[in-house]
Amino acid sequence: MTLQDATYSSGTDDSPLGPRTGLSRSRFFLSNEFGLILLIAIFAIIFGFATKGFFSPFNLFALGRNSAVNIMIGLSMMSVIVTGGLNLAVGAMGVCAAMVCGWMIESLGIPWPLAIAGGLAFGALLGWINGWTVVRTGLHSFIITLATMSIFFGVMIFLTKAEAFRELPPVFTEFGRARVLGYVSPLLLVTLVVAVLLAWLYRGTVLGREMLAAGASPAAAELSGIRVGRMVILCHMLSGALAGIAALMLVARNGAAIPSMAGQLGQDWLLPAFLGPVLGGTLLQGGKVSVLGTVLGAFLVTMLTSGLLMLQIGAFWVQSFLGLMLLVAVLLDKARRSYLARRNLA
């Protein structure tokens, strides 16, 4: 088979990296994204019939607001999974960033836009600590972020004496309560903008491509002139900043920066953090991401939680269900990939 110009240029539509939006039609129907859209549609219909008020403006608003946070948490985890690592400290980092923002406003009297920037920068700083330690020690990020999760959270509780910052400017609560077109939360719009920016990062910038290359094969990337260590640190910093955004969204929803808003050690975030990327088809080994998949995956999870709670199923059953879903998603993905690999053999 010799290469024709035609076959070369047919590569135009296919994206070699990043979000798998440009795939051929038959492959799109086998993709995670399509599967998720299908599931979202099916469950929307089921919940629409089985519950009262699933499609009410209030519920849609709440659904949008919750999924905005869950998607952001998933994106935060995704940006580290790119390197083949993970970030167990997402919750702790997010809460720390939000507490710093609250402290800057209440104790230092810094204007809120600057305080938000400061909080996000602090999240990125915590990410830098994680990334730097991972690169320097050569240990897996699992163990590093497990340790820093406790450290960050512990220090934060000590410094804040576990007290919340409640005297925030009304702009936070107003933003959390606002509705666009009747039922869309502006938080969701923020999340979607961030998601689009991330998709562009991985697809359309040198930085994003270098992150993916460093994650897929550190040795090859290094010898091709990519500063792999720096990329790993940047991925962790990105994760910290995104976790900060997620926590600030919770602040907008609660009207206060509360140390326990992500649970003990921030652990309440862990399940949604993994569910989004894994359901969305981000490769846990690193080197491949799907931003769209993560968004859809996190949305599906939020919708299921909301629907099941409306069906008056106990919250603990919902937790078990989400855990089961993570397991099934991983297994399904494995099956799907080996199916694609076998077809590729031809």
């Binding site: 070369y8 590569g11 296919d14 359309g204 491509r209 290359a213 990337a221 002139g225 590729n344």
Partner: protein, 505 residues
């Protein structure tokens, strides 16, 4: 003599591809049978059919004249067909003895393993290979070459009547290869039928008495005697035409300025007093046995390991290269790795992504924006020039053949426009046609002004391509000589340089 094993009219179809189109092979007891062919000719598929990994689509296998069917590799092993695969099939964390007797250990779950006996038995097979390894050593602590020998010991322990060796010498040094050949001869004299797969025709001519050549999934010759068959004949059968002329030719670069120079360099990896110099447009060969420290030297030059003493010069100016990033982007040095699969390419990414990595930064616009189209425009001419065969640029690099992968890892440096390219063992696992093409390409690159530092353990390759040969042994430079293109005299001179050192040290 009656054949011990025969394959008749073997066909094997994969979705969309006919890998074997009616191949015939017959193996005699007490013989070493060469199985040759270019990459993609069907050798590996045939081996997998013979060893029960694949079921043939059509055709019969005969063992001692009886029709045989192997449903899985265990079937084949049970009937006395052993194989040493090209890829490593050892468990790194298990000991040598455990690896050798893996099948036996697994045969009953509850019996405790008698390690003393296991190690004793393993010792026997290691001794047969004159391998001085403690059987209790974890395999992960061995060198690649020794792992290969452990695999051979494992195959021996099965006491196979038919033993297939798939490129067994790819990572062995000359002396290890010699030892392997002694063993092969002994097995042959004991009546074993051996199949030897290799791209190194010198070795094939040395050890094999019969030969089968495959081309495009069919026999180019079927189990004939090696007597009177020349290297030229073998090549002609493999590629379907005569070997390309225009091998070595004299090139004079003595008037050119130096691009890379080392004076008395020592490194943290253990190099001492290494001096060499590469001029503009010159091809300098760095020859040595496996473990001589050549790849390590390359990586030190590139800044991946620290240079601890001496002077490194680029364009005559002393430099300190602290990272590969600097080597590439500041000094224009590129490196084609010997280990394509882990260091050369990002296998799970596309052809396009791989070919573009070193130039992403150069192509990036304001804010570091970068589109596929821009990368395509930059790399496509080089992929075309190297005749990379791929269904599309979006194809995953892992799905391409070894030769095409190698072309991509060269193309990416051409696209990056490096001034000096360090090429490490470029033709390992590459077929003859691609190899000849690669040699021509290296010369053409040099003619156009790129300097090349060629690392290879393949002496014929070195003599076919290099202008000058620097010999390394034990992390030192032991000599330097001009290449005259005369195989006999140059190879003797090179070997002397290594040998001398051996006597002194």
């Amino acid at each position: 003599m009656t054949p011990i094993f025969e394959a008749k009219g073997i066909q094997k179809a994969f979705p969309g591809v006919m890998a074997l189109k009616g191949v015939t092979l017959s193996l005699l007891p007490g013989s070493v049978h060469a199985l040759l062919g270019e990459n993609g000719a069907g050798k590996s598929t045939l081996i997998k059919v013979i060893t029960g990994v694949h079921q043939p689509t059509a055709g019969t296998l005969l063992l001692d004249g009886q029709q045989a069917q192997f449903h899985n590799p265990r079937d084949a092993i049970a009937k006395g067909i052993g194989v040493v695969h090209q890829e490593r099939n050892l468990f790194p964390r298990f000991s040598v003895a455990e690896n050798i007797f893996l099948e036996q250990i697994g045969s009953s779950y509850l019996t405790p393993v008698d390690y003393a006996r296991l190690n004793r038995e393993a010792r026997r097979w290691l001794d047969a290979l004159e391998l001085d390894i403690d059987p209790a050593t974890p395999v992960s602590e061995l060198s690649v070459a020794r792992m290969q020998l452990v695999e051979i010991a494992k195959a021996l322990s099965l006491q196979s009547r038919v033993l297939l060796l798939d490129e067994p010498t790819a990572s062995l040094t000359t002396s290890e290869t010699d030892r392997l050949f002694q063993i092969v001869r002994r097995l042959r004299d004991d009546g074993t039928s051996l199949v030897f797969v290799s791209h190194k025709l010198e070795e094939v001519q040395e050890i094999c008495d019969r030969v089968t050549v495959l081309r495009d999934g069919a026999n180019a010759c079927d189990s004939r005697s090696m007597e009177g068959v020349t290297r030229h004949d073998l090549v002609q059968m493999m590629i379907g035409r005569a070997e390309g002329e225009g091998a070595w030719r004299a090139r004079d670069t003595s008037a050119q300025p130096e691009v890379l120079g080392l004076s008395g360099v020592s490194t943290e990896l253990g190099h001492r007093d290494v001096s060499l110099s590469v001029r503009k447009g010159e091809i300098v060969g760095l020859y040595g046995l496996v473990g001589a420290g050549r790849t390590e030297l390359a990586k030190s030059i590139l800044g991946q390991s620290a240079v601890t003493g001496g002077e490194v010069r680029v364009d005559g100016k002393p430099v300190r290269i602290r990272s590969v990033f600097e080597a590439i982007h500041t000094h224009g040095l590129g490196y084609v790795s010997e280990d394509r699969k882990t260091e050369g390419l990002i296998l799970q990414h596309s052809v396009l992504a791989n070919a573009g990595v070193p130039i992403w930064r150069k192509l990036g616009g304001a804010l570091g924006t970068l589109t596929d189209g821009k990368i395509r425009d930059a790399v496509l001419p080089y992929l075309r020039k190297l005749e990379v065969k791929t269904p599309s640029l979006a194809q995953t690099a892992a799905n391409l053949s070894g030769g095409n992968q190698q072309k991509i890892s060269v193309a990416k440096w051409l696209a990056a426009g490096v001034r000096l390219l360090i090429v490490d063992e470029p033709s390992v696992g590459i077929d003859i046609k691609t190899k000849a093409y690669l040699h021509e390409l290296l010369r053409e690159l040099a003619d156009n002004g790129t300097s090349i530092l060629l690392i290879t353990s393949d002496l014929p390759e070195m003599i076919a391509v290099a202008d000058r040969i620097v010999v390394m042994d034990g992390y030192r430079v032991t000599g330097e000589l001009p290449n005259t293109g005369e195989y006999d005299s140059v190879s003797r001179a090179v070997m002397d340089r290594i040998h001398d050192m051996g006597e002194v040290g």
